[in-house]
């Protein structure tokens, strides 16, 4: 029996009067990679933003229902949003290194916690970069600007930056959409390694990517969850016609 990590219960999201997520109900298991696929504007990014409450920053954003992370309602009144965001790391579609050195990028979140011990930070940098599969490529130039890295390296740096915070969840929003096949493969390799220790939700507009790395896959369409199942099932015998249509490239 798999352990449930996140429970989504009757969850809806609105931008003003526009409903972007419609009454979602599903679970995310611990230490799985859940792929989320769906055509443009189906609410995939919105769902991720709701999970670590980055949607709070958007004007007019409003939610209904519940998301329980480790049993706690993340929209409850006593939730510490800043701590939540540390626990649930987010990787965006375009890699955004902060305009500082590679080293400082990795420890950015850690320093926010007031940790400044050099030895400790050095160790965190090495561990995080190692896990993100970037250590060997950058270990000799940690003090150079992160902006000089290639796109694929920058995206792995963004992953390392999150790992440094020792999160439990990693959300990725089309992390390889701008990358070449080799960089994409490296990131997918890292994800497979990371799943031992983390619960991962991977939004992708590339259905083949979901097929390659996700344990289970959810199909979103216009703010609705059409179906969620083992990736193999979704790709071989989906139970909904719309899923089948999407995978055959009929829309999106």
């Amino acid at each position: 029996m798999k352990e449930i990590a996140i429970q989504v219960r009757n969850f809806s999201h609105y931008y003003g009067s526009h409903q972007s997520l419609k009454n979602l109900n599903f679970d995310v298991y611990r230490h799985e990679i859940l792929g989320i696929i769906g055509p443009a504007k189906s609410g995939k990014s919105t769902f991720l933003a709701c999970l670590n409450r980055l949607n709070d920053l958007l004007p007019g954003s409003r939610v209904e229902g519940q998301i329980l992370v480790d049993g706690q309602d993340i929209y409850g009144p006593e939730v510490d949003v800043v701590a939540l965001r540390r626990k649930i790391g987010m990787v965006f579609a375009t890699p955004v290194p902060l305009p500082m050195s590679i080293y400082e990028n990795v420890v950015y979140g850690v320093r926010l916690l007031g940790k400044n011990n050099r030895k400790e930070l050095d160790q965190i940098v090495e561990d995080s970069l190692e896990k993100a599969g970037l250590w060997n490529e950058v270990k000799d130039r940690l003090q150079t600007s992160a902006l000089k890295l290639s796109g694929g390296q920058q995206q792995r740096l963004c992953i390392a930056r999150i790992l440094a915070l020792k999160p439990e969840y990693i959300l990725l929003d089309e992390p390889t959409s701008g990358l070449d096949p080799i960089s994409t493969m490296k990131i997918e390799d890292s994800l497979r390694m990371l799943k031992k220790d983390y619960t991962i939700i991977l939004v992708t507009n590339n259905t083949k990517q979901a097929a390659r790395v996700a344990d289970r896959t959810a199909f979103f369409l216009m703010g609705e969850l059409v179906e969620i199942d083992d990736t193999r099932v979704i790709f071989t015998r989906p139970s909904d016609k719309r899923t089948e249509g999407y995978l055959e490239g009929k829309f999106g």
């Binding site: 790391g89 965006f92 950015y108 926010l112």
Partner: protein, 278 residues
């Protein structure tokens, strides 16, 4: 008559070239006149002696010191106020009637002639608050005069920091203030500094606002409450009252050279800063 695109291009280019050269020539002309008449006046003594006999004799040391103090106070007050306002307007408010009113107020302030600031400073600082004609009154008046510049340039600089940096910072568990101090402001520094430099230039060169508030005493200022005369005011008085044209040119030369040095130094530092960042 239709011109061929090529001819048209040539004519436009010629015109633009002409206007640009006029601008450059005017600048050169000013520089040459001032330096030609002023440089011969310059000596160590001119820079290190106080004026004597109303400025006919001696140097301009006390006016240099007064200029530095006044400018320093103006920037000390205007920078935190201006940058703070800019942060508030860009990061802590959503566009509303209030922000529009504040912005409109700042724009209006920017359009007010400096002599009106002088009058305002005279009424408020010199008389009401009883600071008298002093470095303090002058500095505060200049602060209000340059405030709109600092607000506007800082606002532009802060706005041009990519939104994604803020999102990333938040997603890594920062508070809004941490995002501002650790990512937004460091990226905005070049723009903010540009505003400060502009303000320094304006403060150093200002006469109208200063003459009403800092006075025109030639003594070496000894405290914040000393009345004192800045270089620009000194130049104005020497020239207008026909005290001594050579000394007036000497003062002007020092002013111009100081402003040049400040600009060059800032440019150099900014280059280095930007290089280190990227």
């Amino acid at each position: 008559m239709l011109l061929s695109p090529k001819t048209e291009q040539k004519i436009v280019q010629a015109f633009l070239y002409f206007f640009t050269s006029i601008a450059v020539l005017v600048l050169l002309f000013i520089l040459v006149v001032i330096l030609k008449n002023g440089l011969p006046q310059l000596s160590l003594e001119f820079l290190t002696k106080n004026p004597a006999d109303m400025g006919r004799e001696g140097g301009i040391l006390s006016t240099i010191v007064a200029t530095i103090f006044l400018t320093f106070i103006a920037l000390l007050v205007a920078t935190p106020l201006g940058v703070g306002t800019a942060i508030y307007l860009t990061e802590y408010t959503i566009e509303s009637r209030l922000t529009r009113i504040i912005r409109f107020g700042a724009e209006c302030l920017a359009g007010i002639p400096s002599i009106i600031f002088g009058l305002f400073g005279f009424i408020l600082f010199v008389n009401k608050l009883k600071f008298g004609w002093s470095i303090l009154s002058g500095g505060l008046t200049l602060a209000f005069m340059v405030l709109p510049t600092i607000i506007r340039t800082s606002e532009e600089a802060i706005k041009s920091v990519p939104q994604a940096y803020r999102l990333v910072s938040f997603s890594l568990g920062s508070t809004r203030w941490q995002a501002i101090t650790r990512v937004v402001l460091p990226s905005a520094v070049p723009g903010i500094v540009t505003g400060i430099i502009l303000s320094i230039g304006r403060s150093i060169g200002e006469t109208a606002a200063v003459i009403f508030t800092a006075g025109s005493a030639l003594r070496m200022p000894s405290s914040l409450f000393s009345s004192s005369r800045t270089m620009a005011v000194h130049f104005y008085i020497l020239a207008k009252e026909g005290v001594s044209m050579p000394k007036a040119y000497g003062t002007a030369a020092v002013l111009v050279i100081a402003i040049l040095i400040i600009n060059i130094m800032t440019y150099y530092l900014m280059e280095k800063y930007i290089k280190r960042k990227s």
